[in-house]
Symmetry: C2
Subunit: 547 residues, 2 copies
C-alpha cells in the first residue's frame, strides 16, 4: 500500500496513559483490593475451570493474593476497534476544543477564536435552518401548536400527516424499523421525480440514523470469509474516513483506488482495474464504494464516468454503494448531479435488472445541514430477497431510527410546493444558502491557488476543498522523528498559531509523498476570507521556517 | 444448553424465498444478462486474479457465458448477521401488521382491531407525553417560539440552556460525540442525587442513541479471542433479546444463567456460579449483564441480591453491565430500585475502586415512554483510561447521538423543580402515569392468575408480565411437526383468533419444557381488561382443543 494514515491511535494512547497512571496510583493507595478474594472466594484459586480460562493472573502481592487488574484493558479489548481511526474528530479536534477552553479561561493566544473548518457542520458555522422544516418539527413535538394561527397551513398539514403515521399520533412512539410508512412513500416519490420517472418501490427504502448508519449496515451484510476469501471493499483515496473506520471494525479488507488529482480528482476505470486485480490476490472484493459529489475532493462525477463505473461493477460482479449525500451541493458550471440509480436504469435492463446498488442520502448536508437530527435513508436495488429479509431483521434489533430525524427526512423529500403558503420563503432560504455555498466554493479555490506551494482543484460540489500542500523536506523529517504525518504536523502548527482547525490529508488517505488538508467551505464569507488569508500567511511562514 | 429460541430465521427465509423465486423468474425473462460479459469484459474470464478469488461461477448459459448471480446472497452474506434473532419485532409482529392491513381493507376477522402488547411502546398504546418535555422540544426546534408568551418560563430557560450548548445555537449541529457537555453535567448531577450524593464525573457519561446503542457499544469493546479464549458474556434467561442479538452479531459466546421463576424470577448466585463454571470450559467469560427492574420478568432486585452480584463479579473478574432503563418503574410494595452504582460505592473502596461497571438509562421507558427520540446515556465506572480513549474514538465514528434525544434526556434528568411554574403540572402528569402503570401491573397479575394453566409472578416493576403457560402435549407435538416453538404456535393462534399480539417466551429464552409469553401492561386499562379476558378465554379454548 503506498499511502499511510495518521497514527491517531498512538496519540490517543499516550494521552490516555498519562491519565491512567495518575488514577491507578490514586486508587491503589486507598484500596485494600487483595482482600476481596480471601473474603469472598474460597473456590476461585482452586477452580479447574478457572485454570482453563486463560485469564491473566494479575500481580501477586506480599501475602500472595492476586491484586485485581482491569477486566478490560487495551491489551484485552476488541482488536478491530483499536484499528478504527476517524480523523474528522481526531486529536487535532481534541486540541481545538482544549484551545477554546483555554481562551475562555483567559489564556493569551495569537488568535481570538478557534475556527473549526474540520467538519461539515453547517449550523455550527452559522447557517440558518430552513424555517418551514423547524415549524413542522415544533408542531410534531408539541401538537398543541396545531391550534396556533401563526403557523402556516402547509406546515400544519405536513405535521398532521406525520403524526397520523405515528403510533398514538406521537413522535415518541417507535416507528417500524424500516421507517415510517408514509415517509418511505414520500422518499420513493422524491426519487422518482429526481430521476425523471424511473420507478422507486417504498419497500426498497430504509430510513437510517444519518447516512453513516446505512453505510455501516450495508457493509455489515457483506463481510464474510477468512484469509484470501475475506470480503474486500473498494474505496476511493482520498475517502471519507467513515469507510475505513467501518471496514476496520468489521475486519474487512480495504481496497484503495486512487482518484486522479491531476484530472480534478476524477475516477479512472484503469485505476479501479489495477486496484481490483491486485486485491484479488489476497481477498475477495465484493463491493465498490463511490462518494459523489466527492468528500473530501469536492469533485462531481460526469454521467460518462458513472456509466463506466456501473459497467465495471457489472463486469467484475461488485455491489455498488453510492454515497450521494451531497446531491444538492453542485456549484460548478457544466457540472450536474447524476444519481447512480438513474444512470443504471438508463443503461437498460441488462444492468438495471442485475447490478446490486445501495445509495445513501441524509438530512445533514445540501441546503439543510441538519446534522444533529441524524436523519437519512438508503435505497437498495436488486437486492436478493432473502438478504433483504435479513437486512430488515438486522435493523429491527435497534428498534427504529430517531423519529424526529425521519420527520425531517420527510420534509426534505416533500418540501413546500408552488402555491403552498410556505413555498416562496422556502425557495428563498434554499436558494440563498446554496448560492452562498457556491460563492464560497469559488472563493476558496481562488484564494488558495494564489499561495505558492498550495494547489487546489475546483470545488465543483460538496462542502470541502482538499488542496495539495508542499511541505519542505526539513518539516517532513521533523514530523517523522515525532512519529507524525507531515501534514498532521502542518495542521497542528496551523491550529496553534492561527486557531484554524483543519484535518490533515493523511486522515483521508493520499498518495505516498503527497500532502493535503481538508477544509470545509462553511464558515461565513467574512470569516472564510480571514481564514483563507491566515492559511496563506501561515503557509508562507511555515515554508520559510523549514527551508 | 437446555433451552431453545424460536426459529424466526426459518420463517423469514421461507417467506423471502417465495418472493425471490417470483421476481427471479420475472427479471430473467427480460434480461439479456449474459451479454454483459462479452460486451465489456474481454479480460474477466482470463484474469488469473479472478481465478484466485474463489467467486462462485454462476450458471452457464447456452452460449457458454456466465449469467449473473447476485453478489450478495443468503449463502455469501455475513454469517453472524444470519444468527441474529429479535423476537420483539419478529414474524408474529409482521403477521400482526398484515392483519391490521387486512382489517383496513375490509376483511372479516373474529376481532375488530389488533392489540399490540408485544413491545414497550407507551405512546403507541395511548400514554400521553409529558407536556413540559414537549414544550421544551418545540422551543428547541423552532426558537422563534421563545417569544411566545404562552410558553412557561422554565421551559424557555431549559431550551435556552440547551441551545446555548449547541453549535450555532442549533439542535441541527453535531454535538460532541460523547454528547452535549451541559447534558452530561446534568446527567451526572441527577445520578448524584439519585444515589444519595455518591459523586459522578460527567466525563464518565456517554449519551447514546437509546440504551440499545450503549449496550451494543460496550459489548463491542469486550469481544476478542478465538476458540476457548473467545469472550463470553453472561445474560439472564429469560432476557431481553437485544443481548442475544448483539452477541450473535459480534460472534461472542452467550452464557445463559437462569432466573428462578419459583422465587419470583429472582437471581441465584449459585446459578451464576454454575453457568460461569460450565462456560469457562469453552470460552473466556468477561462480563455479566443484569436487567433490573427485569425485562421480561418484571422482577425488582433486592439490595442484598445486587450486593451479592457485585461480590460475584469482583471475585470472578467480570465487568458488570447494569441495564437500568426501568429505574422509575417500580410498583410493588416493599420493592425499591437500587442502582448498581450506589450499592457498589456503599460496599466500600475495595469494590468501588475496582469493579468495572457500565450502567444504562434511556428516555424510552419510566413515565416518559419517549421511544421515538432514541435518547439515552451510559455511565462507566473504573474503566481503564486507555480503553476509555478507545471508546470515545469509537463513538466519534458515528458523529453524535441524535440531538433531540439528547435534549430530551436532559429534561428527564433536569425536570421541573418545586417553585418552577411547570412543577405542579409535571408532577401531576408523572404521578398519574406511574399510578396507572402500577394499577395495570396488579390487574394483569390478578386476572392472569385466575386462569387454570396460566401462572404469573407479580409484576414488581418494568412494563411486562411473563406468565408461564401450560401447553397440552398434543399442541407441543403439532408445533414440533411444524418446526415451531410450542409457544409460538400458541401466540400465533391467539393472534389469528383474537387480534392480540404477544411475544412467545421462546424469543426471550426459557427453561426447556416451560412455555411463556411476554405481554406489556401498557394498553389503556379498559383495553387491558378486554385483552386479559380474551387471553383467558383463548387459553381455555386452546387447552380444550388440544386435550
Amino acid at each position: 500500500m503506498h499511502f499511510r494514515f495518521e497514527r491517531l491511535d498512538h496519540c490517543a494512547r499516550l494521552l490516555a496513559r498519562g491519565r491512567h497512571d495518575a488514577s491507578a496510583g490514586g486508587s491503589g493507595a486507598q484500596s485494600p483490593g487483595p482482600r476481596v478474594h480471601s473474603l469472598t472466594s474460597p473456590l476461585s484459586s482452586s477452580s479447574p475451570a478457572r485454570a482453563l480460562s486463560g485469564l491473566p493472573k494479575g500481580k501477586m502481592t506480599e501475602n500472595g493474593m492476586a491484586s485485581r487488574g482491569k477486566v478490560l484493558t487495551i491489551d484485552t479489548m476488541n482488536p478491530t476497534v483499536k484499528k478504527v481511526e476517524y480523523a474528522v474528530r481526531g486529536p487535532i479536534v481534541q486540541r481545538a476544543v482544549q484551545l477554546e477552553k483555554e481562551l475562555r479561561e483567559g489564556a493569551k493566544k495569537p488568535f481570538a477564536e478557534v475556527i473549526k473548518a474540520n467538519i461539515g457542520d453547517a449550523h455550527a458555522m452559522g447557517q440558518q435552518p430552513i424555517t418551514f422544516f423547524r415549524q413542522v418539527l415544533a408542531l410534531c413535538s408539541y401538537p398543541e401548536l396545531l391550534n396556533d394561527s401563526t403557523f402556516p397551513e402547509d406546515a400544519k398539514s405536513r405535521a398532521r400527516r406525520i403524526l397520523q403515521s405515528c403510533g398514538g399520533s406521537s413522535i415518541g412512539a417507535y416507528s417500524a424499523s424500516q421507517g415510517i410508512d408514509c415517509v418511505r412513500q414520500d422518499v420513493a416519490r422524491y426519487i422518482e421525480q429526481r430521476d425523471g420517472g424511473i420507478p422507486c418501490d417504498p419497500d426498497n427504502i430504509y430510513l437510517t440514523t444519518g447516512a453513516s448508519d446505512g453505510i455501516v449496515t450495508m457493509l455489515k451484510l457483506l463481510v464474510c470469509g477468512e484469509g484470501k476469501s475475506r470480503t474486500g471493499v473498494m474505496i476511493s483515496i482520498p475517502q471519507y474516513p467513515l469507510y475505513s473506520a467501518a471496514l476496520a471494525e468489521l475486519g474487512a479488507v480495504q481496497i484503495n483506488y486512487y482518484l486522479n488529482e491531476e484530472k480534478c480528482w476524477s475516477l479512472d476505470i484503469s485505476e479501479l482495474q489495477r486496484a481490483l486485480d491486485e486485491a484479488r490476490r489476497h481477498c475477495n472484493p465484493r463491493a465498490l464504494c463511490i462518494i459523489n459529489p466527492g468528500n473530501p475532493t469536492g469533485q462531481v462525477q460526469s454521467r460518462q464516468c458513472i456509466e463506466d463505473v456501473i459497467r465495471f461493477a457489472a463486469k467484475e460482479r461488485l455491489l455498488l454503494m453510492a454515497d450521494e449525500v451531497y446531491q444538492d451541493n453542485v456549484y460548478a458550471d457544466g457540472c450536474k448531479f447524476h444519481s447512480f440509480k438513474k444512470v443504471l436504469f438508463e443503461m437498460g435492463p441488462e444492468f438495471s435488472n442485475n447490478v446490486e446498488l445501495a445509495s445513501f442520502h441524509s438530512t445533514s448536508k445540501c441546503y439543510m445541514g441538519e446534522c444533529g437530527f441524524r436523519g437519512g435513508y438508503m435505497e437498495i436495488i436488486n437486492m436478493d430477497a432473502e438478504v433483504k429479509a435479513q437486512l430488515t431483521k438486522l435493523v429491527s434489533v435497534r428498534l427504529c431510527p430517531p423519529v424526529p430525524g425521519q420527520a425531517l427526512m420527510d420534509l426534505v423529500v416533500n418540501c413546500p410546493q408552488p402555491g403552498e403558503p410556505s413555498y416562496n420563503n422556502f425557495m428563498k432560504e434554499r436558494t440563498a444558502t446554496l448560492g452562498v455555498l457556491a460563492e464560497k466554493a469559488k472563493l476558496t479555490e481562488q484564494i488558495l491557488n494564489t499561495v505558492p506551494g498550495i494547489s487546489c482543484n475546483p470545488v465543483q460540489g460538496a462542502m470541502y476543498s482538499f488542496p495539495r500542500i508542499t511541505i519542505p523536506e526539513k518539516a517532513i523529517r521533523e514530523a517523522k522523528e515525532k512519529g507524525q504525518a507531515p501534514d498532521m504536523l502542518y495542521c497542528m502548527k496551523l491550529l496553534e498559531e492561527t486557531g484554524i482547525c483543519l484535518v490533515p490529508g493523511s486522515g483521508f488517505g493520499q498518495k505516498e509523498g503527497t500532502y493535503h488538508f481538508r477544509m470545509t467551505i462553511l464558515p461565513a464569507t467574512d470569516k472564510l476570507k480571514i481564514l483563507l488569508s491566515k492559511v496563506k500567511e501561515f503557509h508562507q511562514k511555515f515554508t520559510q521556517q523549514y527551508s
